[in-house]
C-alpha cells in the first residue's frame, strides 16, 4: 500500500502537461487559460495540488474526466467487465496450455514432442502479442469465418456469446505467458522427476499417469503458483494491447483513448487503479504462497 502511495506521487510528477491548451485550443487567450487553470486548481504549487488530489483519492474520488464529462471512477467501472473477463480467460488459456506443454515436454524429454513444445514456446515469447492477434483474426475470422473479427458482447448477452467474442483475444493475450509457463514447467518437472519420492512411487508400481500428475506435478506446482499469480497481474497490463487489436471496450482501450485525448485526470485515475490492483494481486500471491507451502515460513525455500 505504501508502494501505491509512492506510485501515485510519482505519477503526478510525471504528468506536467497543460490540459488548458488542449481544452481551449491553440487560439485561446492567455487570460482565458489562466482563468481555466484557476478553476481546475492548476495554478497552485505542485505539492499543494498533490495533497489535494491525494486526499480526494483517499476518499475514493479520482476526479472528473474532462472529455467523458463524468467521474473517473464511474468511467473505469463501466469498462471493467471486458478487461476482467479477458484477463481471467487469458489466465485459463495460459495455465492450461503452459502446464500441458511443459509437462508433455518434460515427460517426453528429448523427443519430437519436446522439440515441438519448446519451439512453440520459443515462438510464443518472441512474437509480439498484437501480431499473434492479427494472425488469429486473419485465420479464424477472415478466412474461416467461424469467430467474430472484433468487438465485445457483455456477459449479460449470455456466457456463450461472451466467450465467442473473447476466445481469440484470450489466446492472443495468454500465449506469451503460456510459453513462459511451459518453459518453467518443463525445467521444474525435470527436476522433480528425479526426486527420490518419484522413484519410490514408480517402484511401488503406481501407473505413470499417477506418478506424473499426482506426485511430480503436485510438487512442481507450488513454485509455479507464484508465477501464475504474477502472470495474472502482468496480463492486466497486456490487456492494453490486446483490447486495441480486438476493439474491446475495456479499461486498457480507455487508457489509450485518454492518452490520445490528453485527458490527464482519466490517465492518472486508470494508471492508479491498475497499479493498485497489480500490487494487490502481487501481495495476495505472496500471502497465498505462504499458505500453500508452510515450509517457507519455517525454513527457506528449497533449491530444486
Amino acid at each position: 500500500m505504501v508502494l501505491v502511495a509512492t506510485a501515485v506521487f510519482l505519477l503526478l510528477r510525471l504528468t506536467p502537461g497543460d490540459p488548458t491548451e488542449v481544452l481551449l485550443g491553440p487560439e485561446a487567450t492567455p487570460e482565458r487559460a489562466a482563468e481555466l487553470r484557476r478553476d481546475l486548481g492548476l495554478d497552485k504549487p505542485i505539492p499543494v495540488q498533490w495533497a489535494l488530489w491525494f486526499s480526494h483519492v483517499l476518499q475514493g474520488d479520482l476526479g472528473e474526466s474532462i472529455f467523458l464529462r463524468r467521474p473517473v471512477t464511474q468511467a473505469i467501472w463501466e469498462r471493467a467487465e471486458p478487461t476482467l473477463m479477458l484477463t481471467l480467460l487469458s489466465l485459463i488459456v495460459a495455465v492450461a496450455l503452459g502446464l500441458g506443454l511443459g509437462v508433455l515436454a518434460a515427460v517426453r524429454q528429448g523427443s519430437w514432442a519436446d522439440l515441438v513444445a519448446m519451439l512453440v514456446s520459443l515462438a510464443g515469447i518472441s512474437m509480439p502479442t498484437f501480431w499473434i492477434g492479427l494472425n488469429l483474426i486473419l485465420v479464424f475470422a477472415v478466412i474461416l469465418g467461424v469467430l467474430p473479427v472484433a468487438g465485445y458482447k457483455p456477459l449479460s448477452a449470455g456466457v456463450w456469446e461472451n466467450v465467442r467474442y473473447l476466445i481469440l483475444p484470450a489466446i492472443t493475450l495468454g500465449f506469451y505467458d503460456a510459453a513462459l509457463l511451459a518453459r518453467m514447467t518443463r525445467s521444474m518437472m525435470l527436476g522433480v522427476l528425479k526426486e527420490n519420492y518419484v522413484r519410490t512411487a514408480r517402484s511401488i508400481g503406481l501407473p505413470e499417469r499417477r506418478v506424473v500428475l499426482g506426485h511430480a506435478l503436485r510438487n512442481a506446482l507450488i513454485p509455479l503458483m507464484t508465477i501464475v499469480g504474477l502472470m495474472f497481474a502482468g496480463l492486466l497490463g497486456g490487456a492494453l494491447v490486446t483490447e486495441t487489436v480486438f476493439n474491446i471496450p475495456g479499461v486498457g482501450r480507455l487508457l489509450i483513448q485518454a492518452v490520445l485525448r490528453r485527458d490527464y485526470q482519466l490517465v492518472q485515475g486508470i494508471v492508479l487503479v491498475i497499479a493498485g490492483v497489480y500490487v494487490l494481486i502481487n501481495l495476495s500471491v505472496d500471502i497465498l504462497y505462504g499458505v500453500l507451502d508452510p515450509r517457507i515460513s519455517r525454513a527457506k525455500p528449497r533449491a530444486s
Binding site: 508502494l3 501505491v4 509512492t6 506510485a7 510519482l10 510525471l14 504528468t15 506536467p16 524429454q109 528429448g110 519430437w112 519436446d114 522439440l115 519448446m118 520459443l122 515462438a123 515469447i125 518472441s126 512474437m127 509480439p128 502479442t129 498484437f130 501480431w131 492479427l134 494472425n135 483474426i137 486473419l138 477472415v142 473479427v149 525445467s187 525435470l190 527436476g191 528425479k194 526426486e195 527420490n196 522413484r199 497481474a233 502482468g234 492486466l236 497490463g237 497486456g238 492494453l240 494491447v241 486495441t244 487489436v245 487508457l255 489509450i256 485518454a258 492518452v259 490520445l260 490528453r262 490527464y264 494508471v271 491498475i274 497499479a275 497489480y278 500490487v279 528449497r302 533449491a303 530444486s304
Partner: protein, 292 residues
C-alpha cells in the same frame, strides 16, 4: 538437492542438442542478418520508405514491390527494412540508458547502506506498474517522440538492472579482497569501478540481451497503440498499427513486417538464453542437472 542420483543417461538426439546448445549460433545468425539489413538499408531499399504515392496504394506483393504497398502507396519492403534500423537503434539505446543508470543505481544502493532504502524505494514504486502501463503513462506525460520512447522504455527497465547489480554487490561487498582493498586505502570510487563492477559485467550482458528484446517489442507495442514513434517514422509498430485496419482486405500488410519483428526478437531471445548458460555457470549446472 544437488545430489539426486543420476538416472540412466539417454542419448540425446540431434534436435535435442539443437535446443540446448545451438541457440547462440542460430540466434546470432538471425541477428547478423537483421543488423546487415539495418545498416545497408539505404542500399537495398528501392524506394524512399516515406514516399507517398496514392496512385499505387494496396498493391499486393510482387516483383516490383516485394512486400506490396500500404494504404498510402508506400513501399512496404522499404518501410520494413528501415523498420529494422529503427528497432535496433531504439533497442540498443534503451539497453545503454537502462544499463548505465541501472548499474550506477545498483552499485550505489549495494555499497552505501544509507541511500539503499531510498533508491530501492524508488525502484519498487516503478515496479508497482505493469511495464507497458508505466511506459504508456510516461509517453502520455512527455509526448509521442522517438527519443521519448527510449526514455519511457528505459525507465521501465532500470529497476530490473538495479536489482541484478545490487544483488551482485551485496554478495561480494564483504569478501576479503574488497576488505583488503579498503585496508590498503583505496578510494570507494576505485573499489566500485575497478573491483566490484567487473563482477557485474556478465549478469549485465545477460540482462542487456533480454532488455534489448523487450525494448524492441516495447517500442513496437507503443507505436502500435499510437503513443510511440510518430506515424511518419517507419517503425514496425507503426506499420502493424496501420495494417490492423486492413486485415480483411490487405493481410499482406501485416504478415511480413510482423515476421521481421518476430525474427528479430527470436534472435535476441536465443542469444540471451545461450549467453546466460555460457556466462552463468550456476544456470549451466542447473540445466545439466535437469537434463541428464
Amino acid at each position: 538437492m544437488g545430489s539426486a542420483p543420476a538416472s540412466p543417461r539417454r542419448a540425446v538426439p540431434w534436435y535435442g542438442r539443437l535446443i540446448q546448445r545451438r541457440s547462440i549460433v542460430i540466434g546470432g545468425l538471425l541477428l547478423l542478418v537483421v543488423m546487415a539489413v539495418a545498416i545497408l538499408a539505404p542500399v537495398i531499399t528501392p524506394y524512399d520508405p516515406n514516399l507517398v504515392r496514392p496512385e499505387i496504394q494496396f498493391i499486393r506483393p510482387n516483383a516490383v514491390h516485394l512486400f506490396g504497398t500500404d494504404n498510402f502507396g508506400r513501399d512496404l519492403f522499404s518501410r520494413t527494412v528501415y523498420g529494422a534500423r529503427n528497432s535496433l537503434i531504439v533497442g540498443s539505446s534503451v539497453v545503454v540508458l537502462s544499463g548505465l543508470l541501472g548499474a550506477a543505481a545498483g552499485l550505489l544502493a549495494g555499497f552505501y547502506r544509507r541511500i539503499d532504502t531510498l533508491l530501492m524505494g524508488v525502484m519498487d514504486s516503478l515496479m508497482a506498474f505493469p511495464g507497458i502501463v508505466l511506459a504508456v503513462a510516461i509517453m502520455a506525460a512527455i509526448g509521442a517522440r522517438l527519443e521519448n520512447v527510449v526514455v519511457a522504455l528505459g525507465v521501465v527497465q532500470i529497476p530490473r538492472v538495479t536489482r541484478v547489480v545490487r544483488s551482485v554487490v551485496l554478495t561480494i561487498v564483504h569478501t576479503q579482497y574488497i576488505e583488503a582493498g579498503r585496508a590498503i586505502g583505496l578510494t570507494d570510487r576505485r573499489i566500485l569501478l575497478r573491483h566490484i563492477l567487473p563482477n557485474c559485467i556478465s549478469p549485465l550482458i545477460v540482462q542487456g540481451t533480454f532488455i534489448f528484446g523487450l525494448a524492441v517489442l516495447g517500442e513496437a507495442s507503443l507505436s502500435f497503440l499510437g503513443v510511440g514513434a510518430p506515424p511518419y517514422i517507419p517503425s514496425w509498430g507503426n506499420i502493424l498499427g496501420e495494417a490492423r485496419v486492413y486485415v480483411r482486405d490487405a493481410p499482406y500488410m501485416m504478415l511480413l513486417p510482423g515476421l521481421a519483428l518476430s525474427i528479430t526478437v527470436l534472435g535476441l531471445n536465443l542469444v540471451g538464453d545461450g549467453i546466460r548458460d555460457w556466462l552463468d555457470p550456476m544456470s549451466r549446472v542447473r540445466r545439466l542437472e535437469a537434463d541428464h
